[in-house]
């Protein structure tokens, strides 16, 4: 798709982990558990009452509220990376130690503190570029009529 046919939205915030990556967005306004919330071998959400239960973020840009639950959060997302089932990049709203450590051991670009709420701006399937060096997120989707 060329730029003429696309809407492009740019959000600015704080880079948490350096690097640049782009891919399809996987968006949830809910927090995610690591342990007991995902299957790290496939990147699939397994928490019973989660809005994304049964869906996988593997190979996508994970856009979500933040981390919750067990202190095994970082270990589960590190395991997902080692199993080839981790996200390409992460964008999150709420900073906690679980989230920060998880982002570090996922070794993917991570951004937070964006000037607009990414959970309202970014939709499932949008093409998202995450620049963890500059703290910038670029969102592309087919132009609205």
């Amino acid at each position: 798709m060329s730029d003429e046919q696309q809407d492009v939205i740019v959000l600015r915030g704080r880079g948490v982990v350096e690097g640049v990556a782009e891919g399809e967005a996987f968006v949830t306004s809910q927090t995610l558990s690591g342990f007991g919330g995902i299957d790290p071998m496939t990147g699939t959400v397994t928490e019973r009452r989660h809005e994304k239960v049964g869906q996988s973020f593997a190979g996508k840009v994970l856009v979500f509220r933040g981390a919750k639950g067990s202190s095994g959060w970082a270990s589960n997302f590190q395991t997902a990376r080692l199993a080839g089932a981790g996200p390409l990049a992460v964008i999150f709203n709420e900073l906690t130690t679980k989230m920060a450590l998880g982002a570090v051991v996922m070794r993917v670009p991570a951004v937070t503190d964006l000037d607009q709420n990414p959970l309202e701006v970014i939709q499932d399937g949008d093409w998202v570029k995450v620049d963890g060096n500059e703290g910038v997120v670029e969102i592309r989707r087919p132009a609205s009529a």
Binding site: V16, F35, G36, W73, T96
Partner: protein, 426 residues
Amino acid sequence: MKLTDHEQAMLDGAEGPAIQQAMSLLTRYGKALGAERLVETNNVCGGSVGSLPNRRNVVSSDDDMEAIFSLMNLDSDVPLEIPRVKTMAYKLIEAGDPDYYDQQRVSERTQKLVKKNADFCDRIGIQRCNTCTPYQVGNVPTYGEHLAWMESSAIVFANSIIGARGNVEGAQSAAAAMLTARIPYWGLHIPENRYGTHLIEVECEVESMMHWGLLGYYVGEVVQEESPVVNGLQHHPSLRKAKHFGAAAATSGGVEMYHLVGMTPEAPSLERALGDKAPEETIHFGKAEMRKAYENLNCATDPEVDFIMLGCPHASIEQVQIVAKLLEGKKLSPNTELWMFTPKALKQHADRMGYSEIIEKAGAYLMSDSCPALSRVSPEGVKVAATDSCKQAHYLPATLGFDTWFGSVEDCVNAAITGRWQGELT
């Protein structure tokens, strides 16, 4: 982030590659948090996680515990020579209980890995407590002490009930803290971040362990990672009730600190607990909210129960005593198994008091070192489980695929004896 000369020297490799990697991890983690500096700690709970399920699936070889620790605990692709830890260090849950490997159906591979992990922990100086409740077996922090603890249910207890200071750490930050005696000075290490943010007005009686668990489960889901101030309580919580409240709030949400007005050390009054600010939100908790939490936790429909799990977080000696009393002279249904979990040191005490014998005579087991959800151990062929723990009821469906009932300890023991779930919210 500002480092002291000593910290910079560790980062530059003056104390060897493992400590260098640990300090590198801490500085990247501190930067991700936006921390300005590190703080010294001499109290770390974490451990060597390479023997746990999932982690076992991604390690290339079981032979080299140093390589596994380097990868899983220090996020290093290169195997490092791991020196003795610098701090008091305590290990959390293991992959199985060596005294019950047959019942837990622990594979030979895992048994070998647990043994190797034990030798490795002994060599580098990690206390093998093998429990999610280190504060029950010799590691009671002091007020204001800086901690680097994993285990969400333990850190919320240490922060809230004791007034020690720490955030929920992970396997990698805890390991790095053991090797460097440092952790980022961020979040709940900083006094002004410890005030409550949300006010919970309790409008019903919260007395039993089940009530405390449900209050925690409801509050955690509403406040997520914020700090609730609970007001209007009529009864002081005992150890087991506080343990269940915090574990539940740290499961449905990410609560790491709470205040019980007039009961916990940083909440002598409502105003002090809130730091003299207005709460961001006021939440009412009455019978309807308790009912909602109860219904959210109960996903099972089939009353034929196969498996009853008690002791999540690991049971206090009071809980073991209660269960022994309920089981005395009784026999479990031939269709059910009851496993209760307590730290190994408390198991020895239960042996001395005769509780273990009563429990085992009834056909149940008092196990240690492990946990069904984390170690993935359970009896064969379980379809329907029951537990008195909100935390375990939350995790069992996702981790082991069991339909799960939640209820009081009496409901659970009754189900173990009759084979049928008849629990009610009372």
